[in-house]
Each structure stands twice: as structure tokens, then as C-alpha cells.
């Protein structure tokens, strides 16, 4: 239960970190919060030759909240992001989702960007990023680029990040005042990875769902957008039970959930409809 030997480097700038990644590529692993990487090292699921610890890069600690939205640098911890978002908008999707990410001691170290870069399909934040149309900012030898969350997540622990790129931040656009958020998950114990979860938002005008986004996690290799269920709800009144039923049926039809080691596909699809009902309930509640 000890990591295999590695070389440890702690660059002071993004440029220096990117240069190390460009030089060593797949041989290097980036250490940010370490709350997933350290267990993987201890279990020897991975054994990088070089650990690039970015915790000394002060520029990556920045977070900003303004009219455009939220920006979190690569070193912004879950706990600090949660405090900032709650202060700005207690009903926001991130304010609802972050308490479900592991436990406080882990949220003190773990980072928003690290959760995104890892791309665990059962994790909350990748689904939130897709739901919120967040943009992930990457720095590489050729400069910086931004990718939408939808384009960033490719598959199981797989993203569009190239081996010579560093995730330096995530940008979450501010949504209009008519936006309502919903978040829930089913887990055996608070803080565990969810069996299944749902991150959602709706644009509600005069009691009518003008548009909505439903993103499941734990349902596939990457965050799964329930497009048919979204279509079933679009244009419906918020309290239209028939539309809710059509959306639930659509979810059952469109989610191709694989059974995991503990839970069968039928059970997980039933969870998917139960979560949808709870989320619509959250949309109805005053926010």
C-alpha cells in the first residue's frame, strides 16, 4: 500500500509544468488535490515515473465570481468553491452538488478541476459541468484553448486533454434568473460514489418549462444527457403530470444503463425515473 517510486517535481509556473508534461508525456502524472491520484498510487493502479505537483503554482488558486459566472483555477478546492457558490446563489447546481462529493476532509484538498480531469463516470462534477455548459481551459506548449464540457469528456476516465496539456481552470457561465436547478443522487452512504445521480436545470417562465437539461452520472462511461426526456418536458407546464410521465418513459427507453457489480440495469433505470421525479419536485419548490 505504498506508491511505487517516482520522481517528484513541483514547478512554480504553468509554463514550467507544461514544459515538464511536454517532455515526459504519459510518464508524468499531475498531482493537484491528490484525492483520487494518491489512492491510485497507493493501490498501484498507476505508477507514473514523474509526479508533477502543481500545488506551488499560486496563479492556479484564483477563483472569481462575477456577472459572467464562476471561474475556478486548477487549485480551487471543493470546500472553497462550495463556500463561494453558496454565498452567491444557495440554489445553484454546484451549491447543491458539492456536499455530495466525498467528505469534508477530502473536499478540503480535492479540486474542482481535478475531478473534471479525472473524468470518473460516477462522479458528480463532470455531469454538473455538462449540465451547466461549463468550459474547461487547457494550457499546452502551443498556448491555451477552451473546450466545452460536452466535448471534453470522451469516455471512461478519458478526456480530450492531451498528455502535454494541463487543465488550468473551468468557467461556468451565469444562467438567467428564470433558471431552476435540481440535483440528487442515490448512494449507499453519504459521500460515497453514487449508484446513480442526476444534475439538472430548467428555464421556467410563467410555470412553463421553456427548456431543460438532464444529465445523469453513474449511467454510462461519461455524463449522459437524457435528450428524449428533455424533449418530453420542453414546453410542458411545470405541474403537468402527463408530461412528467412521458419524460419518465423516455428515460426508461433512452438510458442504456449497464449493470454494475452490485446493481442490475432494471434497478438503475427505476432509480433514473425516481430521480427525475425528485428533480421536478425541486424545480417546483421556490428557489
Amino acid at each position: 500500500m505504498k506508491p511505487a517510486p517516482f520522481h517528484y517535481l513541483a514547478p512554480a509556473t504553468v509554463e514550467a509544468a507544461v514544459a515538464l508534461l511536454a517532455e515526459h508525456g504519459d510518464e508524468a502524472a499531475v498531482l493537484a488535490g491528490g484525492q483520487s491520484l494518491m489512492p491510485m498510487l497507493a493501490l498501484r493502479l498507476t505508477a507514473p515515473a514523474i509526479l508533477v505537483d502543481i500545488n506551488r503554482i499560486g496563479a492556479l488558486e484564483r477563483q472569481s465570481i462575477d456577472a459572467a459566472g464562476y471561474s475556478f483555477g486548477a487549485l480551487v478546492r471543493h470546500a472553497d468553491a462550495w463556500a463561494a457558490v453558496r454565498a452567491d446563489d444557495p440554489a445553484h447546481l454546484l451549491a447543491r452538488a458539492l456536499p455530495h462529493v466525498a467528505h469534508q476532509a477530502i473536499r478540503h484538498r480535492g479540486t474542482i478541476c481535478g475531478s473534471l480531469a479525472l473524468a470518473d463516470p460516477a462522479a458528480e462534477l463532470p455531469a454538473c459541468a455538462v449540465c451547466l455548459d461549463a468550459e474547461i481551459e487547457l494550457a499546452g506548449p502551443a498556448g491555451r484553448r477552451r473546450l466545452t464540457a460536452d466535448a471534453f469528456f470522451e469516455g471512461l476516465y478519458t478526456t480530450a486533454r492531451r498528455p502535454d496539456e494541463l487543465v488550468v481552470g473551468v468557467h461556468v457561465p451565469r444562467l438567467g434568473p428564470d433558471t431552476r436547478f435540481g440535483f440528487d443522487e442515490v448512494a449507499r452512504r453519504h459521500g460515497d460514489y453514487a449508484i446513480l445521480g442526476l444534475a439538472a436545470r430548467a428555464l421556467v417562465v410563467d410555470g412553463c418549462i421553456k427548456d431543460c437539461r438532464l444529465v445523469y452520472f453513474g449511467a454510462g462511461a461519461r455524463p449522459v444527457v437524457a435528450t428524449a426526456a428533455q424533449a418530453a418536458l420542453k414546453g410542458a407546464a411545470l405541474d403537468d403530470g402527463h408530461a412528467h410521465g412521458r419524460a419518465a418513459a423516455a428515460v426508461m427507453g433512452e438510458l442504456a444503463i449497464d449493470p454494475d457489480l452490485r446493481y442490475g440495469a432494471t434497478y438503475k433505470r427505476q432509480l433514473a425515473t425516481a430521480l427525475l421525479k425528485r428533480i421536478i419536485g425541486q424545480w417546483k419548490a421556490p428557489q
Binding site: 484525492q35 514523474i50 467528505h103 476532509a105
Partner: protein, 161 residues
């Protein structure tokens, strides 16, 4: 990769329980292993070594962390507090008394992590509900008590008997 000519040990300077410490540590040594084997502070326990059990809970710059999920090297320049320091300062005395009173420990392996985690909860929420206490200690395993007595003790120390 030995042709990189990089060191496998590094020098570290931090404070531990208020005392300045300088040490040479293996770069792959975890923080909790260094505290136990390097400094003899064996109050922080090593359970699962992959961040699941909470027995190694310590404070870095005033916030709880998993001692097994940080490298010792990473506390260079930071302030570390262990259960030994928290005990000596007296800041967890009420919790420790409540744990004794309510028999909230049997083997004691989880207790240092439980106490530090509970102290952090009570510092931010003086009278937490039992549900909130359960949520706060959900990252700390106890294999003896069944948790009821621990929740009792934390509620009592929080004045929510």
C-alpha cells in the same frame, strides 16, 4: 528514469503542533507515515491507506485532511496539527470527556480521527442535529461501536443532549 538525476529524498520545513520542524523525507512518503515514523506521533492511525477510513485525519493549515492522501513533502511551509497537539492545547477536552462518558470508543483506532472531525463540525456548527453529525462523520469508519454512542458523544459535547 534515474537518468533524470533527481533526488528521491527532499528537505521539508513546517510546523507540527506549533513546533518548527525540519526533516529530510523520502519524496513518496505519506504525511501520516512521516508523522508516525519520522516524528513518533503515533496518535494518527493508519487504516486503509487510500483515503476511505478516516483514521489518519489530521489538520493542515487548520483544516482536516486525510494524512494518507498527502505526501509529507506537500506540507513544506505549512502548519500541521495532530491529535497530540489538539489534546495538549485543550481544545478537544470536552469531546474527549464526552467520548469517555458515552463509551463512544472501544478499540480506539478510529477515535483520534473521529475527535478531530467532530471538533471541526462543532467549531462551525455548535449545535448540530444527529443527522448532521452522522453526515459529518460519514467519512470516518468505526468497526466497534455501531456509531450510536459516537453520535451521542458529539451531540453531548455540542450541548444537544
Amino acid at each position: 528514469m534515474s537518468d533524470l538525476g533527481l533526488e528521491t529524498t527532499a528537505t521539508l520545513a513546517c510546523t507540527v503542533n506549533g513546533e518548527p520542524v525540519r526533516a529530510i523525507v523520502p519524496v513518496r512518503q505519506s504525511l501520516v507515515d512521516w508523522l508516525r515514523h519520522g516524528l513518533g506521533l503515533t496518535g494518527s492511525h493508519v487504516g486503509c491507506e487510500h483515503g476511505v477510513c478516516g483514521a489518519c485525519t489530521i489538520l493542515v493549515d487548520g483544516r482536516t485532511v486525510r494524512g494518507c492522501l498527502m505526501l509529507a513533502m506537500q506540507v513544506d511551509g505549512l502548519a500541521v496539527e495532530t491529535i497530540e497537539g489538539a489534546t495538549a492545547s485543550g481544545r478537544v477536552v470536552a469531546l474527549q470527556a464526552a467520548f469517555r462518558e458515552r463509551a463512544a470508543l472501544q478499540c480506539g483506532f478510529c477515535t483520534p480521527g473521529m475527535v478531530l472531525t467532530a471538533a471541526e463540525l462543532l467549531a462551525s456548527e455548535p449545535r448540530p442535529s444527529r443527522a448532521r453529525i452522522r453526515e459529518a462523520i460519514s467519512g470516518n469508519y468505526c468497526r466497534c461501536t455501531g456509531y450510536q454512542a459516537i453520535v451521542d458523544a458529539v451531540a453531548a459535547a455540542g450541548g444537544n443532549d
